[in-house]
Symmetry: C2
Subunit: 172 residues, 2 copies
């Protein structure tokens, strides 16, 4: 079992996400994270899926996803050639006695403070999954109130891009 990251270009229509996630559910694969965002072309959305599986699972998923009508491109991302990032919003308890410790930690991790009250600090952090997990571990002693994570999105380095495929799609 290893981490799989799949990038999809799909038609931006109601129902597409249901068909994609349904394919994972029917086969009993749990998705560890999924994010959907607009692309520059309003006709298409881009879905990034992270899951665990072996080589057989990967090949099956790619094969089955490619058969879905609304899925235009499926790419298995080579992790060495890919930048993966996730965004987390996290709110912790911090009064006057602990606030400066929390803010020092935020500074080390390069987290941005996006809300501050007399009793709480809310921060925003981006990075790979391990970095976000390390920040959570640092903050646990202060009592974490809430965490919101987007799931990862992924882009190929330099020349590794979905775009040449996208252009083929766009030109019919």
């Amino acid at each position: 079992m290893k981490k799989l990251v799949l990038s999809l270009l799909v038609n931006n229509e109601a129902g597409v996400l249901t068909r994609v996630s349904g394919l994972f559910a029917r086969r009993g694969f749990n998705i560890s994270s999924l994010s959907v965002g607009e692309t520059q072309n309003p006709q298409f959305s881009r879905i990034t899926i992270q899951a665990m599986g072996d080589e057989y699972v990967r090949a099956q998923l790619v094969h089955q996803l490619r058969k879905l009508h609304d899925v235009k491109v499926v790419e298995n991302m080579e992790l060495e050639q890919t930048v993966c990032r996730e965004l987390m919003l996290i709110k912790v308890c911090a009064g006057s006695d602990t606030r400066s410790q929390v803010l020092e930690g935020a500074n080390v991790f390069r987290a941005k403070v996006c809300d501050l009250t007399p009793t709480t600090v809310t921060m925003e952090l981006t990075g790979d999954t391990d970095k976000l997990d390390a920040f959570i571990t640092f903050l646990e002693p202060f009592k974490i109130i809430e965490t919101c994570r987007t799931g990862i999105t992924a882009i190929g380095r330099g020349k590794y891009t979905l775009n040449h495929i996208k252009e083929d799609v766009l030109n019919g």
Copy 2:
């Protein structure tokens, strides 16, 4: 029609995402963005959905989502009391003649450079949807190769939190 942001706590199981997105699809609502991430409790995931709709749509969605067995909490986020953030990875063409212009722009928007080749710059930016759109507009003249967006995630300010509800859920 106005922007709706819904936060859900759901069981972390295969099939839940399909049922949630299927509900939107059956009713013909297109989701403008959706993100799913882990929470501190491995039993639950948190889903943030952004969609367009009026008050009637909002009430219907909340009502129908609450009927789904695997959906533990549905909260309509009050936008004035909510921090919404999205992450974008964006790759643009930039050779020796235009690279410094691109990097200057990145500096102004506080984007981080995460990959650089002789012909491309790949950057990471977080913010609300409008900020990401403004950065795209700035970069368009340089030729954008690829954009990957996570969709928004949302957290309530200060005392506004899903957690009191989550604790009720956790304690049965």
